[in-house]
């Protein structure tokens, strides 16, 4: 009996060790290029490790049962008439409940740190009127800051392109340029069907919906060129609906901005 328990503990520790090793050493994610990305990857690692422990454990249990309890040729009759075990069943109700509750609270914390729980309607400089309601998005700006320092961009999506309007420079670009480490605040609206704005390296995505503006705030942390991908089926050329986001040093950005800037029209 003691021997059996030693084996069980040994196997469980091996499953844990293996899961932690894989979880900490195997990277399945693309580069991290926004302040959201490391937060996301922290959550991913935790979920990955818990998932591996459960998956490897269950797989071992099934395959072990198939070998250990397989019917030998000479055997007849049935297995033990065990119809249940209440304490065991309570254990495997309570432990998963605790794990799920932990994951839920932890991911709330992660979502809050990403800015997901921030009020959406009071922090956008671009808001044309106070009556317009923003339904959805991710906002990293708290109320007190009122987004004065944000770079505001208006995004419009259509079949099959993104357009980025820089209101301060009074120009529209097909490429999104932003300075590194600058909070960017985007208000997005679609001209036709539903699209989505996704930058895998930033770990953020938000649908762009006709008739309902959404917002998406982010802060890039690494210079480079990353793809902007439409992630919602929008028609035959959906797979080709791409744009680029170019994260560059402040000076490079200013140079690009001043080159494209148009004088204000006097109407």
């Amino acid at each position: 009996m003691l021997n059996k328990n030693v084996y069980l503990i040994l196997i469980i520790s091996l499953v844990f060790a293996l899961s932690f090793w894989i979880g900490l050493n195997v990277n399945l994610l693309p580069a991290e290029a926004s302040i959201n990305a490391p937060i996301y990857d922290e959550l991913f690692k935790i979920l990955f490790i818990i998932g591996l422990i459960i998956f490897i454990g269950m797989t071992i249990a099934v395959i072990y049962s198939l070998f250990k309890f397989r019917k030998r040729n000479d055997q007849i009759g049935d297995g033990i008439a065990l119809e249940g075990n209440l304490s065991l069943e309570i254990v495997w109700t309570i432990i998963p409940s605790i794990i799920v509750l932990f994951i839920g609270l932890y991911s709330y914390n992660i979502y809050d740190r990403m800015g997901g729980m921030k009020e959406l309607n009071h922090n956008h400089e671009m808001m044309s009127s106070n009556t317009e309601k923003i339904w959805a998005g991710i906002s990293q700006t708290s109320d007190s800051e009122i987004a004065i320092n944000n770079l505001s961009i208006e995004v419009s999506a259509m079949q099959f392109a993104f357009l980025f309007n820089y209101p301060k420079g009074n120009f529209i670009s097909g490429e999104l340029h932003v300075p590194v480490n600058q909070k960017v605040s985007m208000k997005m609206e679609s001209k036709d069907v539903i699209h989505a704005f996704w930058v895998p390296e930033f770990r953020i995505k938000q649908d762009i919906i006709p008739g309902q503006p959404t917002i998406l705030n982010f802060t890039p942390t690494k210079a480079g060129k990353y793809p902007i991908i439409c992630a919602e089926l929008c028609g035959p050329y959906h797979g080709g609906m791409r744009a680029s986001i170019i994260v560059e040093e402040e000076s490079d950005y200013n140079e690009w901005f001043n080159k494209n800037k148009k004088p204000e029209l006097n109407l």
Partner: protein, 541 residues
């Protein structure tokens, strides 16, 4: 309380065809209807599988070069619609439900045999209509979710035929659901208590409640969508002041429970198969029943987890995260109980057992990615990517379709009186299991690294992994060959099965194979312990 319906007494009995022609008739026999569902569903599975192969051929190269882009969108729309509405839902509910439920409750037929036949005969015409819409002006191309405004702006005839077809299939599903509820509650033989029913009855009771509660919402939504398309109303059309997000809420109010409509019956079937081949009672019957009902209740309040990146406010995103994650608890109980059923048994390693164990492993994997996807911050990155495609194929293919095959190996002797060939069956299992995992496991990585779903073209750096996935799809296509050979050979020349080849205790085995029209020659047996393996009653058999 119980009403006995005798199909022999139907007025036009002499006009009913005999032999194989029965399967092409408006038969009222629940066993004939069950087989009609199964064979019809399998034919649509072959069509849906052909479409899946076309998708994987297109995705074997990064360019859109195999078929025109709009045809590609039609193919993925038809693939999803056919696999869900014409293969999985009709087969796990209609086929096995019709065949088994009357046996399990000790009845001679379903509560409403004519409604039952109507429910089946709605399926072939609506399925054929859906497939034929390709030849009109092109089939629907807005995905099986048919989100407006895309579904309003794409060619109308395909979308309208799609709506009509899904409405008919939904109607068929509701008829079936009402029939199952009535049969399980009202047709139980005297003396048979609810808590003595085989687990599949509980699974079908829960599933049918979901069908009856949520399918009408889909029907209403699609009717409004068709008004937007034909009559230019503005329910979901933003140009006319409509709200596109409302459609998503209504659509997922049905279509998330639809996932449980596809997996709960599979949970029931595997609960019948494992105890028989492990020679052990089903572990934790009562907790299994409560888990099913828990999944039914929770399943109705989780729909918005499909909309975390859509127009949903933060509080809503959070509520649906918690509700969704908690479904893992009753589901987990069921999986632990199944492993505990295997533990200490005398397990026969045969095709039915292997497919059931493959189901457990695949579904645990899909369940884990499901809990991860339930977390808003996690989902925001991978929503609408290949990660999601991989996840739900692990649930509906690795889960439900594996159980459909397991069930075919398990009940084929009862239906035909012949055994299936075990060697071909085990070959079928290994090709399917390897092909399936090769096809879908790599797609998780694709999604995490930037490949959205429903695209005909992708970045060249994803080519190798996509080709591995396509190779897996090829194996899955090949895996149907040994299965079909096995079925055709065994129907003709299979080993005689006898009445009860597995020494099972559930009531369908306590009659001849194939069973007579009235199910039992005499009185229906009273089975108080359908899982009494290892006890004295199993010794007398």
């Amino acid at each position: 309380m119980t009403i006995s319906i005798d199909p022999q007494k139907t007025s036009n009995e002499s006009l009913q065809p005999k032999g194989w022609l029965r399967y092409f008739s408006f038969s009222l026999d629940h066993k004939v209807i069950g087989i009609q569902y199964l064979v019809c569903g399998f034919l649509f599975y072959l069509i849906g599988g052909t479409l899946a192969s076309a998708i994987r051929i297109e995705l074997a190269s990064p360019m859109s070069d195999f078929m025109p882009r709009d045809v590609y969108n039609q193919v993925l729309t038809l693939h999803g619609t056919i696999m869900i509405f014409l293969w999985i839902v009709p087969v796990v509910n209609g086929a096995f439900g019709n065949y088994l439920i009357p046996f399990y409750v000790g009845a001679r037929d379903m509560a409403f045999p004519r409604l039952n036949a109507v429910a089946f005969w709605l399926i072939p015409p609506s399925g054929l209509m859906l497939v034929a819409s390709y030849f009109v002006e092109g089939a629907a191309q807005a995905g099986w979710t048919a989100y407006p405004p895309l579904s309003i702006t794409t060619p109308q005839s395909g979308q309208i035929i799609w709506i009509l077809s899904v409405l008919l299939l939904g109607g068929s599903s509701i008829f079936g659901g009402i029939n199952f509820i009535a049969t399980i509650i009202k047709l139980r033989r005297p003396g048979l208590k609810l808590m003595q029913l085989p687990m599949y009855c509980w699974a079908m009771l829960g599933t049918s409640l979901l069908v009856v509660l949520s399918t009408p919402v889909l029907a209403g939504t699609l009717i409004l969508l068709s008004f937007d398309i034909i009559a230019h109303t503005g329910f979901f059309n933003p140009v006319l002041g409509g709200n596109v997000v409302v459609y998503q809420h209504l659509f997922w109010f049905y279509s998330h429970p639809a996932v449980y409509i596809m997996v709960l019956p599979a949970f029931g079937l595997v609960s019948e198969i494992l105890p028989v081949h492990a020679r052990k009672p089903l572990f934790g019957y009562t907790t299994m029943v409560f888990s099913i009902m828990g999944i039914v209740v929770l399943g109705l309040v989780v729909w918005a987890h499909h909309m975390f990146t859509s127009g949903t406010p933060p509080w809503m995103r959070l509520f649906f995260t918690i509700a969704t994650a908690f479904i893992a608890v009753p589901t987990g109980i069921k999986f632990f109980n199944w492993v505990a059923t295997l533990w200490g048994g005398k397990i026969s390693i045969n095709s039915a057992m292997l497919f059931s164990c493959g189901f457990i492993i695949n579904f645990v994997f899909g369940g884990i990615t499901g809990v991860a996807l339930a977390q808003v911050p996690f989902d925001i990155h991978v929503h609408d990517t290949y990660f999601v495609v991989a996840h739900f194929h692990y649930i509906v293919y690795g889960g439900t379709v594996f159980i459909i095959f397991s069930s075919i190996y398990h009940w084929f002797p009862k239906v035909t009186g012949k055994m299936l060939n075990e060697k071909l069956g085990i070959l079928h299992f290994f090709i399917t299991f390897i092909g399936f995992n090769l096809c879908f496991a790599p797609q998780h990585w694709l999604g995490l690294n930037g490949m959205p779903r429903r695209v005909a073209e992708y970045d060249p750096q994803f080519q190798l992994v996509n080709q591995i996935s396509s190779l897996g799809a090829l194996l899955m296509a090949i895996s149907t060959i040994p299965f079909l050979i096995n079925v055709f050979l065994s129907v003709r020349n299979g080993k005689d099965a006898g009445d009860n080849p597995w020494n099972a205790l559930t009531p369908e085995w306590l009659t001849s194979s194939p069973p007579p029209v009235e199910n039992w020659e005499g009185e229906a047996p009273l089975v108080e312990e359908p899982y009494g393996y290892g006890k004295e009653i199993s010794e007398q058999k």
